[in-house]
Symmetry: C2
Subunit: 462 residues, 2 copies
């Protein structure tokens, strides 16, 4: 029976006869013995297989066993004399499914830059680093589901296609079934969207929050976990046009409650990944960013600091250093400010609350002062904002006023306002960019290397 | 402390003091007592609260306690004299968060058609049926993750935006950041996509399979679970423009292996949902479709029948009844044929394999006969095809020939062909339409009622 290499490495007993299947990572020969390392993606390390020259067809098999070749190998487990591995395999039978011509196979033993590997989106997952990234990504995703499910939250699928722009923030992709080369027009000369699939313009969602609120008003606690889109022309190491977001929404919950949830949530995800992927996390700590484990431990070890925006501004004004962007009450915090607070003042995650209403979205609950809203940003050392959230405005009249002040058409929000008309409740939620979390966890410098197939300006390959 | 109603109903002890929060479903008054049923979405039943006329502000509170109002209630649990509930609450304090004017709140006690409820996408989850649907949907989704994770599969996020059309099947939505009212044109008069976000035309994915194959060639076993799109102008009870798909892909696996996985997978999901949502499933069996539980039991009780397409055609030709679409070797099976096989011949799920190459996709592995491919469809009683899959063509030359025969441009598939050039392996996978599974499970007649916000021709509301 075929087994996964991770299981064999951890639990296999000397003397056991096993069959494994995978791809050759490395090969070296010495004195009539050939050592090949086989990897099946279940773990970083792979398994060492010893091939004896007395194996039938030794020479012809050997010729095909180059890096990237796919094999099925049966043999007996023996204790390994080598360092860093408990057992190895004495091969008794080898089948080569597919060779990988060393002359042309792009992934040879030497190291490649991540930039070069991005041009090989169909092969790069076979490398150590990207393999570790996608195992950690999977572990993160499962930790997220597990956290919410254990707490009685429902996973809700909010729509990808939408007629509305959640925050009026723009940067939308248009979706159409019309032929762009032959757009139909109205008599007045505008594009005739009545002939489009949905009979009106449609867009890709930038957030599932408003629909998640609908669901929270029926199920109390829900979360989204799905793709969201931003047609923002940002060629940076932190932006993607397509990325996955996690957006929990809790009814009967105020901002303090949301902060409790956010902190418990982040800690659970970090704890779970450290437990489930120790080998991969050690790799990141050694090869990618030597502060990765310390950062994770820091998050687990401390209660997050909670300060208001006004307190943050006071602290920044008192700082014995100058910032590129000067701080005064009313301006948004920049990355340099966030890092100063987390890395120099508190040396741990900080939740900043109660931002000026003018720099936050219309749906955030207005405080009694009339100037600030019950928003929160969770800031982490090294990366800055990792979670953004708020208590939502549940008062009909206040919400109507805020929509109008934001210059948005009230009629577009009829159903959102209905949630305040019928059984409105205090509620709150937050959003987490999943790729930024994986970046944070792994220390990977470029967000394009933590999603299998990144979409960025001019890049929609694979 | 606030507790969820499901937990109180199942575990609460008489004498316990509790606080619950939710929405009023029903109210009736008798002899100085008012009975209200509170639901928080955690279970179908809700909890009965008894309000005594001696409660402070009884009259003014009562006035607000109409269907849909949101409340927080503290009180003491007592044994319930009523039928069908273990405990009820003697209220000692009631806070009303938000009323729901009985004159205008659209969800009054009387039954509404599902068609009418679709116009209330922001409120319909508060009804018994839609509530049960979305709890079952969540349980299905978690059962899917759990099955694959327990078996060492990685959840991989294949791209939503793509430059390619997986099967050359058409029906694509176009995605653009261009202003449709002012499209840029080249000198030759065509739309100038070099100015578009991705520098070329981009589409919404119809399947993550090809990219899942990339990931399986690195991690052996993977699955996708994400939204897919079809710009098909089908106004039926089985079609959505946006729906979620589950697509596992297994390296070192042939079609027999894929059939084993598909059968184990379906059984696991049905078993888990029956265990986790017995109350909701009973409801569907009583109110929606009285065969729902029998169908589920049938799936769990039997080994799926496995027959070839040619055997199926022979059985259909021998049938002592006439079909609307006559059957002969080479034609695709219609719903009436699939139902005849599952409901009348075998009376259980049937997996049909080895379809004519001409009616299946280019990537399916060609059999030695040169006429059929290693495809499979899993057919279930009452619903027909629930899963479609295949062993993939892993031989480079055969695959190239098949792409060309299908009239597709070879150069578009350079990376897909590379998977066969470098370490190719036998592999197989299948796809399951998630909403159809939920429809199947719940007996809901219209697919628009098993997804929170359905997208269909002319419908992109909420």
């Amino acid at each position: 029976m075929t087994q996964r290499i991770r299981d064999i490495s951890q639990q296999g007993q000397p003397g056991e006869v096993i069959t494994l299947q995978g791809w050759v990572r490395t090969r070296r020969s010495t004195k009539g013995l050939t050592f090949i390392n086989i990897n099946d993606g279940s773990s970083m390390a792979g398994l060492q297989v010893v091939v004896n020259a007395e194996l039938p067809d030794y020479e012809s098999i050997l010729k095909q066993l180059s890096t990237g070749a796919s094999v099925s190998i049966s043999g007996t487990l023996v204790e390994s004399p080598g360092k860093g591995q408990r057992v190895e395999v004495q091969a008794s039978q080898i089948t080569v499914f597919g060779a990988a011509d060393p002359e042309t196979y792009p992934l040879q033993k030497k190291r490649h830059s991540f930039e070069f590997l991005r041009t090989l989106g169909h092969l790069r997952s076979r490398t150590n680093t990207l393999g570790a990234v996608f195992r950690v990504r999977n572990a993160c995703a499962q930790a997220i589901h597990q956290f919410f499910q254990d707490q009685g939250f429902l996973w809700v699928h909010t729509p990808i296609l939408t007629a509305s722009d959640c925050e009026g923030a723009g940067e939308l992709f248009t979706v159409t079934s019309l032929d762009l080369e032959q757009l139909p027009h109205t008599q007045a000369g505008a594009v005739d969207f009545s002939q489009d699939f949905f009979g009106k313009p449609a867009y890709l969602t930038v957030s599932g929050q408003l629909e998640a609120e609908i669901m929270a008003m029926a199920f109390t606690n829900v979360y989204t976990f799905g793709p969201t889109f931003r047609a923002e022309n940002s060629n940076t190491s932190r932006h993607l046009a397509e990325f996955w977001m996690v957006e929990p929404e809790m009814a009967f919950c105020d901002l303090d409650g949301a902060m409790d949830w956010a902190e418990a949530f982040l800690k659970h995800v970090f704890r779970t990944v450290l437990e489930q992927c120790p080998e991969d996390m050690d790799f990141f700590n050694q090869r990618i960013d030597t502060s990765v484990l310390a950062t994770a431990e820091n998050i687990l070890a401390h209660e997050f600091e909670r300060i208001t925006y006004s307190e943050a501004v006071t602290l920044l004004a008192k700082a014995d250093r100058s910032f590129e962007f000067p701080v005064e009450w009313g301006v948004d915090l920049q990355s340099e400010h966030e890092r100063y607070l987390t890395e120099e003042v508190f040396k741990k995650p900080v939740i900043v609350t109660d931002y000026p209403a003018a720099i936050k979205a219309f749906y955030m609950r207005l405080n009694q002062d009339g100037n600030t809203v019950r928003a929160m940003d969770v800031l982490a050392p090294k990366v800055g904002e990792i979670i953004g959230g708020s208590q939502r405005e549940e008062r009909l009249e206040v919400l109507e006023r805020r929509i109008q002040t934001a210059g948005l058409p009230l009629e577009d929000y009829w159903w959102y306002l209905d949630l305040r008309r019928y059984g409105t409740v205090p509620h709150a939620g937050f959003g987490l960019g999943f790729e930024r979390l994986v970046q944070f966890m792994t220390g990977m410098a470029n967000i394009r290397d933590v999603i299998p197939f990144p979409r960025t300006p001019d890049n929609v390959e694979f």
